[in-house]
Subunit: 254 residues, 2 copies
DNA sequence: AACCGACGGTTCATCCAGTGAACCAATGTA
DNA sequence: TACATTGGTTCACTGGATGAACCGTCGGTT
């Protein structure tokens, strides 16, 4: 790989992100690069305003808000967001529950938008949360629209259980994906966090490829089985609208 | 500055972020670095999963979601978020209007969280939005708690008007900052976008330094002058609670 | 008190990775 | 047709990146 110093710098950056207030030796071990080099990277990234020394603990390094600001103008993210916000807003008002907009990132679903419920009891997924695909309705929905090789590869990997209800059996997950395809929406009952049920639908981008997903989430006491169909169909309608806006069904532009 | 290839890479990354589907020559000009070098950076960043070729337009480069995922675990962001979400939630329920959580980034306020109003008529700031400080209630609130040199520098810079109501006169802005200090909250009437009024309060971090701000926003037809005081005081109370949790008033830990 | 290990941070000779001018083919446009 | 711009490639040169060995400090053990 070329430009190895850049590679090192980015790896350091990701290591900082993963270990938040991260120490020098710690990072050096993590990235497997001499301390001197890591420190030089941190200094450079610091000058650029991407990391800084934690004011709470000297010698510990943290990410800055600037890093977030630069990266939040993500490509597909903003395209999808633009297309999704209107319909998503309507969906939230219709259902009165929290709706999420998620895009894929390396086996995770990344929450990039949220419109929340007026209910006192509300679910909180901070913006930027990464949810394992197999443990979230957005993830299963995304997988239901993704191409086979991707699904095979994902299901072959290690699947961690986040709650006692998390489904980690590949065969069972495959069945859930098939159900999602036929039904039009995925259902996740407390597989991500206890007491939360969620219903997801995939979004399609240009050429009909999976681009992300949306979901309706709330306490399992409110999102009861009797409501699955109503919410599922509402979400599916919204997703269709967004996918259409993304150009999923128009002739591919050459 | 050391490790110049890293500097170049990050500058390329930021240039991509700013110009979204960005072409090679375009970036080369922007960063003032030969095309060959820019291309090498793009390839390296591509291998790392931070940028990719736009599938819509070949040869154009865009940021990936992965970049967003890494950077969204921002330091101060998450610390503040953890401290703020509880009180903010209560504030939203009390006022029934949209509340925002914002942190500073190079002259802008970065919206990192939002709790939505149940009202059909609602304002949308996408999460990750960057608002000029002088044109937002969060910005003026932040400036009212920031140190003098920072304020001087900011007001000396170019101040763009986003709407006909945006205040861009430094003297007038300074008066607004003073008012904010004495009153306890800032008011922005349609300075950010027409038809939207917003009330902001600064958050203080360790040592009492400005760390961010919160705001209550809504259509100017609902957030009328008669409500300013009620909302302002509610927000100020919430901000105080958050600042306390951030350790603004405890003895500095040595 | 003396010892130890781990911490953040520094130094500097070696050498290889990054640089950028010049190049290509393709497309657009006047 | 000619000209300008695009994305992308090549390669000799050299100066910037590397990493082993170093320093001072801190906190816990014995």
């Amino acid at each position: 790989m070329s430009t190895q110093s850049v590679v090192t710098a980015i790896r350091v950056l990701e290591a900082v992100s993963d270990n938040q207030p991260a120490g020098l030796s710690e990072l050096s071990r993590e990235v497997d690069v001499p301390k001197a080099t890591v420190l030089r990277m941190l200094r450079t990234l610091g000058e650029l305003g991407w990391v800084s020394q934690s004011e709470a603990q000297a010698g510990k390094w943290v990410l800055t808000n600037h890093a977030f600001a630069v990266a939040s103008r993500g490509s597909s993210g903003s395209v999808i967001r633009d297309a999704a916000m209107g319909p998503l807003n309507a969906l939230q008002l219709d259902t009165t529950e929290t709706v999420h907009l998620a895009v894929p990132d390396r086996g995770y679903m990344l929450i990039i938008e949220r419109l929340d419920t007026p209910h006192v009891l509300r679910a909180f997924l901070p913006l930027g949360s990464r949810l394992p695909m197999h443990a979230s309705s957005t993830g299963i929905a995304y997988l239901s629209a993704a191409d086979e090789p991707f699904v095979d590869e994902y299901l072959a990997g290690p699947l961690e259980a986040l709650t006692p209800q998390t489904v980690v059996d590949p065969a069972q997950l495959r069945a859930m994906i098939v159900d999602t395809r036929t039904r039009g929406y995925s259902i996740n009952e407390q597989g991500l966090s206890t007491g939360i049920t969620s219903i997801g639908v995939p979004l399609l981008g240009v050429g009909g490829v999976a681009a992300g997903s949306i979901s309706i989430s709330g306490p399992s006491s409110r999102i009861v089985p009797a409501k699955y169909q109503e919410y599922g169909e509402a979400a599916a309608g919204t997703a269709l609208e967004i996918s259409r806006a993304l150009g999923a069904f128009s002739a591919k532009a050459y």
